[in-house]
């Protein structure tokens, strides 16, 4: 099978105009064209805005985020939504790198979060660094919220494809090859076979993630083709804890797959991925964890990085898998956001593995001061801070979209105070300013 390729077109600036076009790294979003893609009986109206890195702008109550991608007129991205699953595979995927489309506004069970386009929150969210097309919406009176949510999701996917379609004839900035994982039995030259288990949240309406358009609720874990995830086979409809959310964009750019692939053939052999639901009953958690570990063994993984979505419930799923893997003799590492209180002195873990290791994606509770901004999109109020949406506020890191990304897309970690003090001391001894 030929190696699939990604044609990467960088987006350096964004604006709204009469017609969608992409030229010289500038993306123009055709207002009417974009809004027409959200035509649905469940939505009374939509309004398209843009927000770019550096803008003094805040996006309130962000919902899902999607990276613009297309395979051209033949289609093929977002299988299960925008393409049949049994579509012809292959063909180049065009990506607008540095751009994102997202919806923002009230939705039941959406835990309110934010994205700032400048300041400390922008440094912490992957979406403070992208040129964003933001869609505000009004639900039709006769529609349910669930119907409105489905309409938004379809609209975002259509808009993502529409924008990327504008770049199909442009010369790509870079071409990325998406090497498939190495099958069991392939000689590795002594390198360890390392894979990933990605848990998907499955807690019903507004807390669900779709694989080929279907919820994984009730499913057993499954081996899955990472290239399919990168083609948009996993689409999010999950609106829990903002900082612990895995929007569609992050699945499309699955950070662990990307990092494993980057070191494939050097330090390790990329062995593949397992997708797994996060059931709510303890017995089901134990069942899927045991089975996921069995799949990893059957696929000859030597080591596994385990990812989750959400907190509490999801932490138990994460740690049960680490335990099941280590009990089977595999090396397991979990990605986890600490819950150690605003001052960082509380116990960091809610559930703990018996062995294995944990990478910290930051502290959920650590508070952060954000400066006032000039404009807000998605709402006039920031309810979590009981303030105007544009005001200077202090919020927990938990509210910044994907800042604690359980898929590893963020840049936060935690270190013990003593360790930091030691580093500073060493820095001073070396004459630095650590």
């Amino acid at each position: 099978m030929p190696v699939l390729r990604r044609m990467v077109h960088e987006v350096h600036s964004i604006e709204i105009g009469a017609a969608t076009q992409y030229e010289q790294h500038q993306l123009m979003v055709g207002r009417d064209q974009a809004e027409a893609l959200f035509a649905d009986p469940a939505l009374a109206s939509v309004r398209v805005h843009v927000a770019a890195p550096g803008d003094r702008a805040r996006i309130v109550a962000p919902l899902d985020v999607v990276e613009p991608r297309t395979k051209g007129s033949a289609g093929g991205v977002f299988p299960g939504w925008m393409a049949p699953v049994n579509r012809p595979r292959g063909g180049d995927t065009h990506v607008l790198r540095g751009a994102a489309v997202l919806a923002a506004g009230y939705l039941p069970r959406n835990q309110e979060g934010l994205i700032d386009m400048s300041g400390p929150a922008a440094e912490r969210s992957p979406f403070g660094r992208t040129n964003n097309v933001v869609v505000e919406f009004d639900r039709a009176d006769e529609a349910t919220w669930q119907e409105a949510e489905v309409a938004l999701r379809r609209g975002l996917l259509r808009l993502a494809v529409h924008l990327a379609d504008a770049a199909t004839s442009a010369e790509p900035d870079t071409i990325e090859e998406l090497a498939p994982p190495h099958r069991p039995g392939t000689p590795t030259g002594g390198l360890p076979r390392v894979g990933v288990i990605t848990n998907l949240q499955t807690q019903g309406a507004f807390k669900d993630v779709f694989v080929y358009g279907r919820s994984m609720t009730g499913s057993l874990p499954t081996l899955f083709d990472p290239v399919e995830v990168e083609d948009g086979a996993v689409v999010s409809g999950q609106y829990g804890h903002p900082a612990l959310r895995n929007p569609t964009y992050v699945h499309q750019n699955h950070p662990v797959i990307a990092e494993l692939r980057a070191r494939d053939g050097q330090d390790l052999c990329f062995a593949g991925m397992v997708l797994c639901p996060e059931p709510v009953a303890q017995a089901d958690k134990e069942l899927v964890s045991t089975h996921a570990a069995w799949l990893c063994r059957a696929a000859s993984f030597d080591a596994v990085i385990v990812t989750k979505e959400g907190a509490g419930n999801a932490d138990n799923d994460l740690m049960l898998k680490v335990d099941a893997l280590e009990a089977d003799g595999l090396t397991a590492v979990a990605l986890y956001a600490e819950l150690s209180g605003a001052d960082g002195t509380g116990p960091p873990l809610v559930a703990g593995p018996r062995s294995g290791a944990v990478v910290s994606t930051g502290n959920y509770d650590q508070r952060i001061k954000l400066p006032a901004v000039d404009r807000a999109i998605g709402g006039a109020q920031l309810r979590i801070a009981d303030a105007d949406a544009t005001a200077a506020v202090e919020i927990p890191t938990a509210a910044i979209l994907s800042a604690l990304s359980p898929l590893g897309a963020g840049w936060l970690t935690c270190r013990a105070e003593q360790e930091l003090a030691d580093q500073k001391l060493v820095g001073q001894m070396l004459g630095g300013t650590a």
Binding site: R109, E123, R124, P192, V194, P255, V256, A258, E259, R263, D267, L268, D302, A303, I305, A311, G312, T331, V333, L335, Y336, E338, L339, S340, G341, D343, G344, T345, G346, P347, P348, L349, V350, A351, G352, R354, S355, G356, A357, V358, V359, S360, T361, G362, N363, Q366, T397, L407, G408, A409, G410, W411, L412, T413, C414, R415, A416, E417, Q418, L420
Partner: protein, 341 residues
């Protein structure tokens, strides 16, 4: 200096669990571990009396610490020492509350317990010196405590080198390598043989052994307790929806069932629609009353205890557990049904 020493009923030789309900009292001179402590303190310091309280009483009675403190003052205490409580939750809580009350009233005080003792967070401004996990480590624990007492008596500051337990803050910070890349690095380090490598320390989650079955359920008093945040509609006492700092109690004497509309769950961690349609599914009062009528259980305790488990730190939850156990034991409850969400 004149030192007052606090121990629980067990170390005072007044009995075990059967005596855990006794109230605050003072004994002359030293008892139990106080004898070793007195010996190690040397001639410059004298343990003039020993304060005692039953564990259940101390853990379930908010005024116990204040009463003990007044006794210490009356005895002319210049330093107050509590423990070692090792890993014992109620005893640790009692020690912590007493030294906190003393310290904030201007009486130098310090306690000794294991760093994982659920009571440790109640010590306030008073220093806690680390002890071993069990009484098997009595001697080294008391040695360390005695050295700390001498330092405190001399007006010196205690440091971690003295065994002082300090909360180790973990500080969030931005780094250049994203988490996914660090996860790959960590996997490679562990595969390379560094089995200790981790960014977050793991372990420390104890396993709770189930209690032995009850012999004659038909003769025991059973309590209903929950972390499901079930409160009267409107949440008059403002229980948190996450990260509880406290727990509450509500009377159910003469109530057969928790009526929808009169009770609600304010838990933030799950969709409460189904629970609020029938609050008995979180606090199974209707089923428990049936068992009580049938004689399957002896009697249902007159109130249920409630907090919210959603996001509540393990240390806080363990302290609630200690307080609940003391509360229920004092009330003569022999079994509890803990419903969780």
């Amino acid at each position: 200096m004149r030192v007052l020493h606090y121990v629980n009923q067990f170390y005072a030789g007044l009995g075990g669990e059967d005596s855990a309900g006794i109230g605050p009292r003072m004994l002359e001179g030293t008892v139990g571990p106080g004898r070793l402590l007195a010996q190690l303190l040397g001639a410059e310091h004298e343990i003039v009396a020993t304060l005692v309280c039953g564990d259940d009483h101390a853990a379930s009675n908010a005024t116990a610490a204040q009463e003990l403190l007044e006794m210490a003052r009356d005895a002319g205490a210049e330093v107050l020492v509590a423990g070692p409580a090792f890993g014992s939750g109620r005893y640790g809580l009692a020690c912590a509350r007493l030294v906190a009350a003393a310290q904030s009233a201007g009486l130098p005080a310090l306690a000794s317990m294991h760093p994982d003792n659920p009571g440790i967070s109640d010590a306030g401004e008073a220093p806690v010196i680390a002890s071993g996990a069990t009484a098997r480590e009595m001697r080294p624990s008391v040695q360390r405590l005695a050295a700390a007492v001498v330092k405190v008596a001399a007006g010196e500051e205690l440091t971690p080198a003295d065994g002082k337990v300090t909360p180790a803050a973990r500080i969030g910070q931005l780094v250049t390598q994203r988490s996914a890349a660090r996860a790959v690095e960590l996997v490679l380090r562990r595969l390379g043989g560094d089995r200790e490598a981790t960014e977050v320390p793991v372990g420390g989650f104890g396993v709770v052994e189930p209690a032995a079955p009850i012999d004659k359920a038909a003769s025991v008093t059973v309590a209903l307790v929950t972390e499901g945040a079930v409160v009267p509609a409107g949440n008059p006492d403002r229980l948190e929806s996450a990260r509880a700092t406290r727990w509450l109690r509500y009377p159910i004497d003469g109530v057969d069932s928790l009526a929808s509309g009169e009770w609600e769950s304010v838990a933030g961690g799950f969709a409460t629609t189904a629970a609020n349609a029938d609050p008995n599914r979180l606090v199974p009062l209707d089923a428990a009353r049936t068992l009580e009528r049938e004689g399957t259980i002896g009697r249902l305790h007159e109130e249920f205890l409630v907090t919210v488990g959603n996001g509540t730190p393990v240390a806080t939850a363990r302290r609630f557990g200690v307080e609940w156990a003391a509360e229920l034991r004092k009330a003569g409850v022999q079994a509890a049904i803990l419903t969780a969400t």
